[in-house]
């Protein structure tokens, strides 16, 4: 008999070995060794099937209860629309074109005969009215905060402990080493501030991308597709402090801390919003119903 395949040996490792295979393995050291390894592998697979994750649900339950509230509020605030997401820009464009066409027709039909234009010198030059679209003030709901997380209204306000509630535009949040604060922002974004972070709630210009800072993860957690207008700013977040290095501080100790600090020295300064990692996976793939 030629050497049996790994498939056949794996079946044998699980118990059902035909007689000819058993006879071959008894006389072939290489196959006997493979069979032993596959037996170990089969046991490892059984172990994986048996294993149940050990999770402390209490902390997660608290965070998820608040996330549930925030999600429900977001649903209630969202305007009802059955139109698919991809059609919305077209529908908006079509509406705009229709209004424009109507305006042109109305002006053409109703305009009085054109009078001779006044001399250029006497013509009043009115500055164009600035386009100021109505906007919702920035708000954030506190989902989670540890003891040392503080907030103040504006740069000069008195610092208070960050507890449950809603923060308004201009609020500044600070976390000390080892602290954490998670805030739910508008448009489904979240601000997750790890230790030694400083963030302020302010509206950035349209088109700004989400910050992928690591000392403060801001909006990087599955921001919804199209949620580009950033709300908030993270100051002085140490760019080079990778999450791995942070985790290293907590779990592995000194070597990782050294690495994080070396990177921090290179990238110190105000966090550049728009620094989304180009290698990061595209958003919105996770939910495809």
């Amino acid at each position: 008999m030629s050497h049996p395949s790994n498939d056949a040996l794996f079946s044998a490792a699980q118990g059902d070995a035909p007689a000819d295979l058993a006879a071959h393995v008894a006389g072939c050291d290489a196959c006997a060794s493979r069979l032993r390894r596959l037996r170990g592998g089969a046991e490892a697979l059984r172990e994986a099937k048996r294993s149940v994750p050990d999770i402390s649900w209490s902390a997660l339950d608290v965070v998820m209860a608040r996330e549930a509230e925030a999600a429900a509020r977001e649903v209630r605030l969202r305007p009802a629309s059955d139109r698919p997401m991809w059609l919305r820009p077209f529908a908006f464009g079509a509406g705009l074109a229709a209004v424009g066409a109507l305006a042109v027709v109305a002006v053409t039909l109703r305009a009085p005969p054109a009078a001779p234009p006044p001399p250029v010198a006497s013509r009043a030059v009115a500055p164009p009215a600035p386009a100021t679209p109505a906007r919702r003030p920035v708000e954030a709901t506190v989902l989670l905060s540890t003891r040392g997380a503080l907030w103040r209204q504006g740069a000069g306000g008195a610092a208070s402990r960050l507890t449950d509630g809603v923060l308004r535009e201009g609020a500044r949040i600070e976390t000390a080493r080892g602290d954490r604060a998670v805030l739910s922002l508008q448009r489904g974004a979240r601000m997750d501030l790890r230790g030694e972070s400083l963030a302020s709630l302010t509206r950035l210009r349209e088109g700004s991308r989400w910050c992928r800072s690591t000392a403060a993860r801001f909006g990087s957690r599955a921001a919804p597709r199209g949620a580009r207008a950033a709300i908030g700013r993270v100051d002085g977040a140490r760019r080079g402090r990778a999450r791995g290095a942070q985790r290293g501080e907590r779990r592995a100790g000194g070597a990782a801390r050294g690495q994080g600090e070396r990177r921090a020295r290179r990238g110190r300064g105000d966090e550049l919003l728009g620094a989304r990692d180009p290698r990061a996976p595209p958003r919105g793939r996770a939910a495809g119903a």
Partner: protein, 207 residues
């Protein structure tokens, strides 16, 4: 087929419909009713590394945000498992792009009653050996192998979860098994595991 069958009878459960209308209690119900199966699937996909609690949180946040787009074209549990698989794979991708800080185990399976530290260490060693091999598989093969051969989901449902057809799932499974068995046959760590298992005293036997 434990994971997907629990809520099979109800393709779109009432609490999902309520959550879609903005009922906060219904969102909590989704989390409470599905957290165990999500955690088990995420743990199996993730292996003994990675921050499992972070992944579970991420899965449910993604579910809460995307619930409006769930139209009931597939069963809710299938959709939920799809989100779990995608979020976990994204987490694994992110883990790979970060610097590795050694083979630290970030979460361990729950230990059965009366389990000794030696048993626990042996169990962790077996799992580490298995996931070292599974890490060599491509993402697609890994997901199919874990869903089918570890989680016990039938091929048709695996196809629905990974948004593919049954034939493709079976092909991926065939190649995944071939690669896993070949890697196992080459891994001396597994030989020592098999030896230890043989050497374990039989229950009731005198030492």
């Amino acid at each position: 087929m434990r994971a997907l069958s629990r809520h099979e009878d109800d393709a779109v459960p009432a609490y999902v419909t309520r959550a879609q209308t903005g009922d906060a209690r219904a969102f909590e119900d989704i989390y409470r009713m599905h957290r165990r199966e999500v955690s088990r699937l995420a743990a199996r996909l993730l292996g003994p590394r990675g921050d499992l609690e972070d992944v579970i949180q991420e899965v449910f946040i993604q579910v809460f945000r995307s619930l409006g787009s769930f139209r009931g074209d597939s069963r809710f549990t299938t959709w939920l498992h799809r989100v779990t698989v995608n979020v976990t794979l994204m987490h694994i991708r992110a883990l790979r792009s970060r610097p590795q800080l050694g083979n630290e185990l970030l979460h361990e399976p729950a230990a059965p009653e009366g389990d000794s530290p030696i048993d626990r260490a042996a169990r962790a060693e077996r799992l580490a050996a298995l996931y070292k091999i599974l890490d060599t598989l491509s993402e697609k093969k890994r997901a199919v192998f874990i869903l089918h051969d570890i989680e016990g989901v039938p091929a048709a449902q695996v196809a629905a979860v990974v948004e593919s057809n049954v034939l493709t799932v079976r092909t991926r499974l065939f190649y995944a098994r071939r690669e896993v068995y070949a890697a196992m046959a080459q891994d001396p760590t597994l030989e020592s595991i098999a030896r230890e298992l043989q050497a374990e005293p039989v229950e009731g036997a005198t030492p």
